[in-house]
């Protein structure tokens, strides 16, 4: 009889289901639970509990057998993940290996994934810049994709709402192309970064160098302490998981917060195969799940479903949710599901040397960098390519050692380094134009070990991207020259799309059900009790690191969904 009770449909029915526990799913879970909904959070990967499951977090550099390097055999078998800057000996347990979860690359695409409770929120670069009015207006002004169904004013209060809880270190810079938020104390630019800021801002109008806003508790408030988090200690070992909760992750923040309400059921190792659609009710009624370990099939039910499976997986899941009503995937009446996928261009890098400020250096570590907000085509079209790019900027005092020879002289040299000049560098973060030809789709024949069709990715750069990369090189080389930097070198990494880890779209928002999948509340036009608030909802990409925007969308959509539910509209 006990089995009967466990297996009964009632026991598998909730007020809401959230698919995915990463940065946006964590927010959906927190908001739903706080509003009193019994919420089931399904995560395909294993559980990772804050602090307890950060095995390397307090290890010293010499305690790693390979001093941080990933061994050759793993790199060879897993070339995609091995190209990720954060995939190292100390973090590799939080990344998906290529061999474990294959996908099909019609064109090269480096798909970086983290399958665990918390997803990639454990691993992200923690950069949280708001979008501006100019970003949301982009597609309409420049005539690409479709018009966003919202504007900055719609999202601004939700940016504030999530920022207060997340904890954002930042400076109020007063820039209309990168709006200020709810900031804790800013981190600081070092002397050469300040020097560059002054040079750029006096020589160019509309170009700024600021300290990047980052999701770190520079100055924790009561709301952060209540989450059990403490001040950021500048360890800069974030991707191992932070025992202080100094940076924001689902694991340190939203998931335990949701758990504390008593309304959350967290189920790791739950691979959602499809969303169940009931043709009579004209609604989604639940999800079909495969237990990742036992491979048992099980259904869960709820009148409200949030899809936060990560940008491309959300596409997979919706495409695979086929029914008589939706033979091409849930909500896919217009055939646009999986199309207009876009990303950020991270191919351009530039570096140089600065021979000034030789009496100064920095001490300690800083978990963010300088930031140059987009300055191209902000107010009007002014180049032969659409949109523009933001960039990082950082300066580091070099420490030089002589490595010649062997013996005592070599040893003395290693133990007696000298100050060198300053090294400066920037990397671009460029907006790509979503195109119908950049797609993800289900492989017609191959499935993974859990019976899910493999995702086929067909995404590439275009001429606009190439022109933008050249412009980044030209503009930054000029800015570097004017600042008196020397030995300026540009580098096109040639990396495939995906390695930016900012893949977006496929389930875009829009005003018109004929040309978009989601409405302005992130609700499927054709199946309104399903909300999609992860990266797949993005109509365009702008240049900002996108996670903050996903979090704001998630909180806003839950607020709307619960209001609608209470009005009995859902």
């Amino acid at each position: 009889m006990a089995n009967f009770a466990i297996d009964s449909k009632d026991n598998r029915t909730y007020d809401a289901i959230v698919i995915g526990s990463g940065i946006s799913g964590g927010w959906a879970a927190k908001e739903l639970c706080e509003k009193g909904l019994k919420t089931l959070v399904l995560e395909r990967g294993r559980n990772v509990e804050h602090i307890k499951d950060y095995p390397t977090t307090n290890m010293m550099p010499w305690e790693f057998e390979h001093r941080g390097q990933v061994v050759e055999e793993i790199q060879k078998e897993n070339p995609v993940i091995s190209r990720c800057y954060a995939y190292r000996e100390d973090t590799q347990h939080f990344f998906v290996k290529d061999t474990e979860h294959p996908y099909v690359q019609d064109k090269p695409f480096d798909w970086i994934r983290g399958y665990q409770v918390g997803g990639k929120s454990l691993l992200w670069a923690r950069q949280v810049q708001r979008w501006s009015e100019y970003d949301f207006e982009g597609p309409a002004r420049d005539g690409f994709a479709v018009d966003w169904p919202i504007r900055y004013a719609d999202l601004a209060p939700w940016y504030s709402y999530v920022e207060k809880f997340v904890g954002i270190s930042g400076n109020k810079d007063g820039l209309d192309n990168l709006p200020d938020g709810e900031f804790l104390a800013p981190m600081e630019l070092n002397c050469v970064e300040k020097y560059f800021k002054e040079k750029v801002e006096t020589q160019y109008s509309g170009r700024n160098v600021i300290i990047a806003r980052c999701a770190h508790l520079s100055e924790p408030q009561a709301i952060h302490l209540e989450q059990g988090r403490a001040q950021c200690q500048n360890r800069n070992l974030c991707q191992r998981g932070c025992p202080f909760g100094g940076y924001f992750s689902s694991n340190s923040s939203t998931i335990p917060w949701a758990m504390k309400t008593g309304n959350m059921t967290l189920r790791p190792n739950a691979v959602v195969q499809s969303i169940i659609y009931d043709e009579e009710k004209e609604k989604a009624t639940g999800v079909q799940v495969i237990d990742a370990e036992s491979k048992e099939s099980i259904e869960f039910y709820a009148p409200l479903i949030f899809v936060n499976a990560s940008a491309l997986h959300t596409n997979t899941l919706l495409l695979n949710s086929k029914s008589n009503r939706f033979p091409e995937g849930l909500g896919n009446d217009n055939g646009l599901l999986g199309k207009y996928v876009a990303f950020h261009i991270y191919r351009g890098k530039i570096s140089g040397t600065y021979e000034g400020e030789l009496g100064s250096t920095t001490v300690g570590r800083r978990p963010t960098s300088g930031y140059v907000p987009r300055f191209r085509n902000v107010y009007k079209q002014e180049t032969d390519f659409l949109r523009g790019y933001a960039a990082g900027f950082s300066a580091n005092r070099r420490v030089e050692r002589e490595y010649e020879g062997i013996g005592q002289s070599l040893k003395d040299n290693l133990l007696n380094p000298q100050w060198g000049s300053w090294r400066v560098g920037s990397h671009m973060m460029g907006e790509t134009i979503p195109k119908e030809t950049n797609t993800v789709s289900l492989d017609p024949s191959q499935t993974d070990d859990w019976g899910m069709p493999l995702l086929k990715i067909n995404v590439d750069y275009d001429d606009n991207d190439e022109k933008m990369i050249q412009d980044f090189f030209e503009q930054f080389a000029e800015m570097y020259e004017r600042a008196g930097f020397t030995d300026i070198q540009t580098r096109d990494t040639g990396q495939a799309p995906g390695l930016d880890i900012h893949e977006m779209g496929g389930v875009r928002m829009g005003k018109d059900p004929k040309t978009s999948l989601l409405n302005k509340w992130n609700q499927l036009h054709a199946c309104p009790n399903v909300f999609v608030t992860d990266g797949s909802c993005m109509t365009s990409t702008s240049t900002q690191n996108p996670s903050l925007t996903y979090m704001a969308f998630a909180a806003r959509a839950v607020d709307y969904a619960v209001q609608e539910k209470n009005k009995l509209n859902l």
Partner: protein
């Protein structure tokens, strides 16, 4: 790969072997357990000698090596173990082969072509031999009955020495000694100071 349990087993085995008469290089009689390289304990000891030549121990005033005191080198820091692990786990097969060949050719090559073979008693002599090998631009003429041409040998030896030097330096600079006593690394480094005078500051 399960090096740890392999190491444990090796250590257990070694307990029994410790009483066997030893030769050549003193007390280190347990070969590091490896997955890809096949290097016996003598070759591993030879590697340790090369590493110790690259980053030597320093003697204190009384003329004795002082691992605990002043400035340990590759020997006290057991860097040969690190080098073996890195070559075994982090290099491609081809480079592992070059490393392995070079290590094996080191003694025969110096015996055949140098006045004194490697290793000698004095650090200065060993340094001279290794430096000469690393800087040699042309291989000596072949001796009679040589199985491998001196050019081949030299190529492998130089590859081996290059790899060994690189990992000796890396192992030294990411050793507990280096990162605590010389250039202290802190997990919690304190506040970031954006602009500090270099005056009187340790260069690090």
């Amino acid at each position: 790969m399960d090096r740890r349990s392999a190491l444990k087993q090796a250590a257990l085995l070694a307990g029994g072997l410790a009483w066997l008469p030893s030769c050549d290089f003193g007390p280190k009689r347990v070969a590091v357990a490896l997955d890809n390289l096949q290097l016996d304990v003598n070759l591993q000891d030879l590697l340790a000698k090369v590493a110790a030549t690259i980053i030597p121990s320093e003697e204190n005033e009384s003329g004795e090596a002082s691992p605990g005191l002043a400035r340990p080198g590759a020997e006290e820091l057991d860097l040969y173990r690190f080098i073996l692990v890195m070559v075994d786990d982090c290099m491609e097969k081809e480079d592992q082969q070059g490393f392995s060949n070079g290590l094996q050719q080191l003694v025969p090559f110096t015996k055949a072509h140098f006045e004194k073979p490697f290793p000698q008693k004095e650090q200065a002599e060993n340094e001279a031999i290794i430096t000469q090998l690393m800087e040699m631009e042309e291989a000596p003429a072949a001796t009679e009955n040589a199985e491998v041409s001196p050019a081949e040998q030299l190529k492998d030896i130089q590859a081996f020495l290059g790899i060994t030097k690189r990992y000796t330096i890396q192992g030294f600079m990411i050793s507990e000694y280096f990162m605590t006593e010389k250039f202290p690394y802190k997990l919690v480094p304190g506040p970031y100071q954006a602009c500090v005078s270099t005056e009187g500051l340790t260069v690090m």
